[in-house]
């Protein structure tokens, strides 16, 4: 996988996997989405963030052709979802809201249904995907016996089956346990790095997005509010913001460290990775007990609430 490491650097030159061009959606007199323009670059995990009712699901429905686009257009791999639906949608694997499946069929039979609708999905591929989402032997049970989390996993499996270039997931962590969320995050990362799949994931779980995404678009009341780069693609060095040292004697520690402010029973200061290590050594040799060291990067949540003004639904 050597090649994939250099890929992010060329990502900017590659055509965006999906382009939303001045997209609006009206239903009756209501405008659900207005003039949304957004490029989703290839090879990224791209977050789509917004409070309840912001229009995330509506946008996703338009991207996969479930609802019509009132004005504007959406291109998937350069193909209009309006005019060349079949070619455009062939590049997409998606979950739209809850992934409902045929309850009277087994999970495996459900996957076979979707496998038959595209070419080149072998039995082996189905097994591979089942393995990936961790459904194991339960795959042969009827879907009506599945828990919410298991259905969500099956939903991810059907979306991955045909190795789509663009994976669209509408709140995929809904119903997953912490273990499941972690696994999902890990294999989305892997998918993105190893197979170059672009992932477009919506959520209102802000902390989730921060852990998972390269960029996020923030939407509110059907309008794009902001697009943020969370970290440069493939970057390993997170810029370090504020750091909190939790110690037994804050005053003495502050004197030793030289700078910083007292806060939450510890000292808060800006420091790089190297400086943190040095400061820690200084404190320990100075006889001060260090209980924890935390990075206090201003969270996306704070920024998000700031941007959206912490408003409620609507």
């Amino acid at each position: 996988m050597k090649g994939s490491e250099t890929m992010p650097n060329t990502a900017e030159k590659v055509e965006p996997v999906a382009r939303l061009q001045g997209v609006s959606k009206k239903m009756g007199s209501k405008t659900l989405i207005s003039d949304l323009t957004l490029d989703i670059p290839a090879g990224q995990i791209f977050g789509f963030l917004g409070p309840n009712g912001a229009g995330k699901t509506t946008t996703i429905r338009m991207m996969v052709g479930l609802i019509s686009i009132s004005s504007g257009d959406i291109l998937i791999c350069g193909r209009s979802i309006k005019d060349h639906f079949e070619e455009a949608v062939a590049n997409i694997g998606a979950i739209v809201e809850n992934p409902e499946m045929y309850k009277f069929l087994s999970g495996y039979q459900n996957l076979r249904q979707y496998a038959r609708m595209v070419s080149g999905v072998s039995k082996q591929r189905i097994d591979e995907v089942v393995e990936l989402v961790g459904l194991g032997a339960r795959i042969h049970d009827k879907v009506k016996t599945y828990s919410l989390g298991m259905r969500q996993r099956l939903g991810v499996a059907q979306a991955l089956l045909h190795r789509p270039k663009l994976l669209i997931l509408d709140e995929p962590t809904n119903g997953l346990d912490p273990q499941g969320i972690r696994e999902l995050r890990d294999y989305l990362r892997r998918l993105c790095q190893e197979e170059g799949t672009t992932v477009f994931v919506s959520s209102h779980l802000l902390s989730e997005m921060e852990l998972m995404c390269d960029s996020v678009a923030i939407i509110q009341n059907g309008r794009l509010v902001d697009v943020k780069q969370l970290k440069t693609v493939g970057d390993v060095i997170m810029p370090i913001g504020e750091t909190l040292f939790e110690v037994d004697a804050p005053e003495a520690a502050l004197a030793l460290m030289g700078h910083g402010v007292l806060k939450n029973g510890g000292i808060v200061l800006a420091a790089t990775r190297e400086e943190i290590a040095e400061l820690n050594a200084k404190l320990v040799t100075g006889g001060i007990k260090v209980y924890s060291i935390k990075t206090l990067a201003r969270s996306l949540e704070d920024q998000f609430l700031e941007i959206t003004g912490g408003e409620g639904i609507g």
Binding site: L66, F85, A94, F104, R116, M117
Partner: protein, 265 residues
């Protein structure tokens, strides 16, 4: 891209992996076979006075079992599109690289295949039981006054019944894809079957010229087996033309609505 046969295969799986479907087919088989048996044991059984011949017996079986056959086919037709909406599976079905038209067509073909299968079951069990349980003497069919042989006559009756079923299923399919509600589709299409007799009495083409164009007055083509003219003096060709127009209309409406519909919860 897979091939279109795979789409039909998928639809067949959805129909035949439900227990309901098999219960309906078994009931249909049992009823088709039971009627000749009941007729045999409750009839006068007196071979000398004519009794009930094979084809007479089969006619009775068809007349009753086709009601059931229609109901069951309507149930399948009504769930075809509406089921996907009520299960929520429509979202995952429509995001495959297939146009909505082809998906709808695959559903319709699977429905027609079911109606052929159920009619096959009806004929096999009805005829089988009639052959075993008949007093055997009378060779004709009561009420038949044409040059057809009893076997030909019986199969013409089946054909006419099937056409009626086919149109009723078409109505159910249309209502199912327009209103996305299978209950409504079942109710409305069954109402049409049961009420069509009353409608053709009320709107008699002998009294109202426009009633000649009502579907109710043409759905039962079996009148043409023994006569050249049907309701209001119309000919077989005219009746077929009227039915064809209605059928095309049902299909067109289903297609237009299904193709354009916004799939939102």
């Amino acid at each position: 891209m897979g091939n279109f046969a795979a789409l039909i295969h998928n639809e067949n799986i959805k129909i035949y992996s439900r227990v309901r479907t098999w219960i309906m087919l078994i009931i249909l088989a049992v009823m088709s076979a039971l009627i000749p048996v009941l007729v045999y044991f409750t009839g006068n059984g007196d071979a000398d006075s004519g009794g009930m011949g094979v084809w007479d017996n089969f006619q009775v079986s068809i007349a009753i079992a086709f009601f059931l056959n229609t109901i069951f086919t309507v149930v399948i037709a009504s769930d075809s599109v509406a089921g996907e909406f009520s299960w929520g599976t429509i979202k995952l079905l429509l995001i495959r690289p297939w146009s909505r038209s082809k998906i709808l067509l695959s559903k319709y073909i699977a429905l027609v295949l079911f109606s052929l299968l159920s009619t096959g079951v009806l004929i096999a069990f009805g005829l089988g039981a009639s052959l075993i349980f008949s007093s055997g003497s009378s060779e004709g069919v009561a009420g038949m006054n044409s040059s057809w042989s009893p076997a030909q006559y019986s199969f013409l009756v089946i054909l006419c019944q099937y056409i009626q079923l086919f149109l009723t299923a078409g109505i159910a399919f249309m209502v199912s894809s327009v209103f996305r509600a299978s209950g409504l589709a079942i109710g409305l299409s069954l109402f049409i079957i049961f009420a069509s007799g009353i409608f053709s009495l009320l709107f008699n083409p002998d009294r109202f010229e426009w009633a000649r164009y009502l579907i109710f007055n043409h759905m039962d083509l079996s009148v043409y087996i023994n006569s050249d003219t049907g309701a209001g003096g119309s000919t077989l060709g005219f009746s077929i033309a009227v039915l064809a127009v209605y059928y095309a209309l049902f299909m067109l409406v289903s297609w237009i609505v299904f193709r354009k519909r916004d799939v939102a919860a």
